[in-house]
């Protein structure tokens, strides 16, 4: 029980930890404060609790596919916040800085809602059995610790990359994350029969199984799917290209603070 709790919770935490680390790296490189992450996480946790408590009602909507539609809306929301953030990253006026903080806060809040509600549902069901409470709490605590450590490792890892490739790398990773969000949103809409799936493009499950550790890590990092459908691939690459383009255009700006190293 402890191990399966650890895996379930860690899977959910990894994605949120990743986007938080990426956005914090950007703040750090811009010399901006990253303190917004706390209210963002708290707002996300409240949202997740609300979503989890309404799950039965939500599930009934849209002919029993309300959960997919809600998740797709959350993922699309995260993508739009990242796109807005990319646009605002350019020349930093005071007003733009405030707006950027807002879009980053929203992106993290929505990510925490999306991942958090699954953890809460998982836990609420099992907490009813007294003998499961201890393994659950230990598993969840371990998973939170591991997830936070991977996030921190990622954060400091990126900061230790030399300044020139770091900018491209950080923006590239954000664009990949955005593509992943759109691809997951497309998958939700396929699952609820709102979008056609199209052909399965390839099957790499023998090469890198999705249920392997590497597969799971790649899933969290870049949205790896062993058998992606055409619609998902279009959403992924379209989302990636648009976001990378926006970020590249916005940061190609005269006195761009993003290219400078603000570390003391």
């Amino acid at each position: 029980m402890l191990l399966s709790t650890l895996i379930v919770v860690l899977q959910e935490i990894l994605e949120a930890a990743l986007i938080i680390s990426l956005l914090l790296v950007i703040c750090r490189l811009r010399g901006a404060s990253g303190r917004w992450v706390w209210p963002a996480a708290i707002a996300g946790a409240v949202g997740a609790a609300l979503y989890a408590s309404l799950i039965e009602e939500v599930s009934l909507l849209f002919d029993y596919t309300g959960q997919e539609i809600t998740n797709a809306a959350l993922q699309l929301g995260i993508y739009l916040c990242l796109a807005a953030s990319a646009l605002l990253m350019g020349c930093g006026t005071e007003r733009r800085e405030r707006l950027l903080r807002l879009t980053m806060t929203l992106a993290v809040s929505l990510a925490v809602v999306r991942e958090g509600f699954e953890i809460l549902l998982y836990q609420s069901g099992l907490m009813a059995s007294p003998e499961l409470v201890t393994p659950l709490l230990v598993g969840a605590t371990l998973a939170t610790g591991i997830g936070a450590s991977i996030g921190a490792l990622f954060y400091y890892g990126l900061l230790s990359v030399p300044a020139a490739p770091r900018r491209t790398l950080t923006l590239g990773l954000i664009a990949l994350f955005g593509g992943n969000m759109l691809s997951q949103a497309a998958l939700m809409l396929i699952q609820s029969d709102w979008l056609p799936g199209g052909a399965i493009l390839w099957d790499s499950s023998a090469l890198l199984p999705e249920d392997s550790l590497a597969g799971q890590l790649f899933y969290a990092l870049v949205g790896y799917e062993a058998t992606p459908s055409l619609t998902q691939a279009i959403a992924y690459f379209g989302g990636f290209t648009l976001l990378a383009g926006l970020a590249a255009a916005a940061t190609r700006c005269g006195d761009n603070p993003f290219t400078q190293d603000h570390r003391p």
């Binding site: 039965e56 599930s59 029993y64 099992l126 009813a128 799936g197 399965i200 199984p209 459908s229």
Partner: protein
């Protein structure tokens, strides 16, 4: 000649509904009881979209998950839910309940 309105509307509705009725995907039901899937083997037609209706009889939530089917959905305790799968190439597609992976296992066979 004046045709009464009601039959005309009915005929029109039938015209619109007929292709929809034909296109409606086959429905397959799966129940979750005591963290097990019933039936644990589900046969579905290949190359056709199928509507899986998953009924969770347990008080606890379960997550229907399948890497092979590319599907993942939480079924709240005591709730009914719908997951569309396919069109699938003929073959076997395992699925499991992520919240109770040791017991809740099953497979879809497309043929």
């Amino acid at each position: 000649m004046k045709v009464p309105l009601l039959p005309r509307v009915a005929a029109l509705a039938a015209l619109i509904a007929a292709p929809l009725a034909i296109a409606a995907p086959p429905v397959v039901e799966i129940e979750i009881r005591d963290h097990l899937f019933f039936p644990s083997t589900v046969r579905v037609p290949a190359r056709t979209k199928v509507k899986l209706v998953v009924i969770n009889r347990d008080p606890t939530a379960e997550e229907f998950e399948s890497y092979e089917l590319n599907r993942e959905k939480i079924i709240p305790g005591g709730a009914t839910s719908v997951i569309f799968i396919g069109p699938l190439a003929p073959g076997e597609y395992p699925f499991f309940g992520e919240f109770f992976p040791k017991t809740a296992q099953g497979r879809v066979i497309a043929e």
